[in-house]
């Protein structure tokens, strides 16, 4: 299964793809597009990737998790224009043991954020545009009514 998708993510379908009669626990994580970033109202945003590397790095992360815990992992990151509330990333980890499922799921999302070459370009309500840089300190949101 490719790890990048230009179509909306379907959690139910991803869960079904790893459901097996000997797997008792499925942990999932969905990362959703939020309506604010650094105190600015987000109007639109677009994810882009260095696609061949993003596929390869995602496959490495999944393989690492599956080698470390007895589980099967599905990871899909969405690319292109997304709307507020859309799922940007889905991780599903299925295992006979819920501990393995939780640990694998958490591992994968943390590694995705640290390693997979994907970028986010946000357009704000005031018309400005910016590349999101998680390494920069984010300005606190303006005080309400201040």
């Amino acid at each position: 299964m490719p790890h990048l998708s230009h179509e909306p993510l379907d959690l139910g379908q991803l869960v079904a793809s790893v459901t097996r009669a000997d797997r008792g626990g499925i942990a999932t994580f969905l990362g959703l597009v939020r309506d604010h970033h650094g105190g600015r109202a987000v109007a639109a945003l677009e994810y882009s990737a260095y696609e061949p590397m993003a596929e390869a790095e995602s496959a490495r992360i999944v393989a690492e998790a599956e080698a470390r815990w007895p589980c099967e992992v599905v990871l899909v990151h969405r690319l292109g224009a997304l709307r507020i509330g859309d799922a940007a990333v889905a991780v599903v980890a299925a295992s006979a043991h819920r501990d393995a499922a939780f640990l694998a799921c958490r591992y994968v999302i943390e590694e995705v954020k640290a390693r997979v070459p994907i970028w986010k370009r946000e357009t704000y309500a005031d018309g400005t545009v910016d590349w999101v840089d998680p390494t920069r300190a984010v300005a606190p949101p303006p005080l309400q009514g201040a």
Partner: protein, 88 residues
């Protein structure tokens, strides 16, 4: 290490997201004197007009895998300069 005599290697350098925007291009093909490290290639790009806006130590990947600045480049390698990642 004994410096080689005269040779160069072709390397494709890819730029993404903010870096592509800053330099107005998404790739360039360069010939680097051997031995060439990732750091050498980064220095090459930063010496181009406008290239000084790139950080001196950007996140880099060679052939679709993360690589340290000290990694040695080979002929035909694809080097990518990666702005801060924002997936997930």
């Amino acid at each position: 290490m004994t410096p080689p005599t005269g040779g160069t290697i072709p390397v494709r350098i890819l730029l993404f997201a903010r870096y592509a925007e800053l330099l107005g291009r998404d790739h360039l093909d360069v010939a680097l004197a051997v031995p060439a490290s990732v750091a050498d290639a980064v220095a090459h790009v930063r010496a181009l007009p406008g290239g000084e806006v790139l950080p001196a130590r950007p996140l880099c990947a060679v052939n679709h895998a993360h690589a340290p600045l000290e990694a040695v480049l080979h002929a035909g390698d694809e080097l990518a300069l990666l702005p801060p990642l924002a997936g997930g």
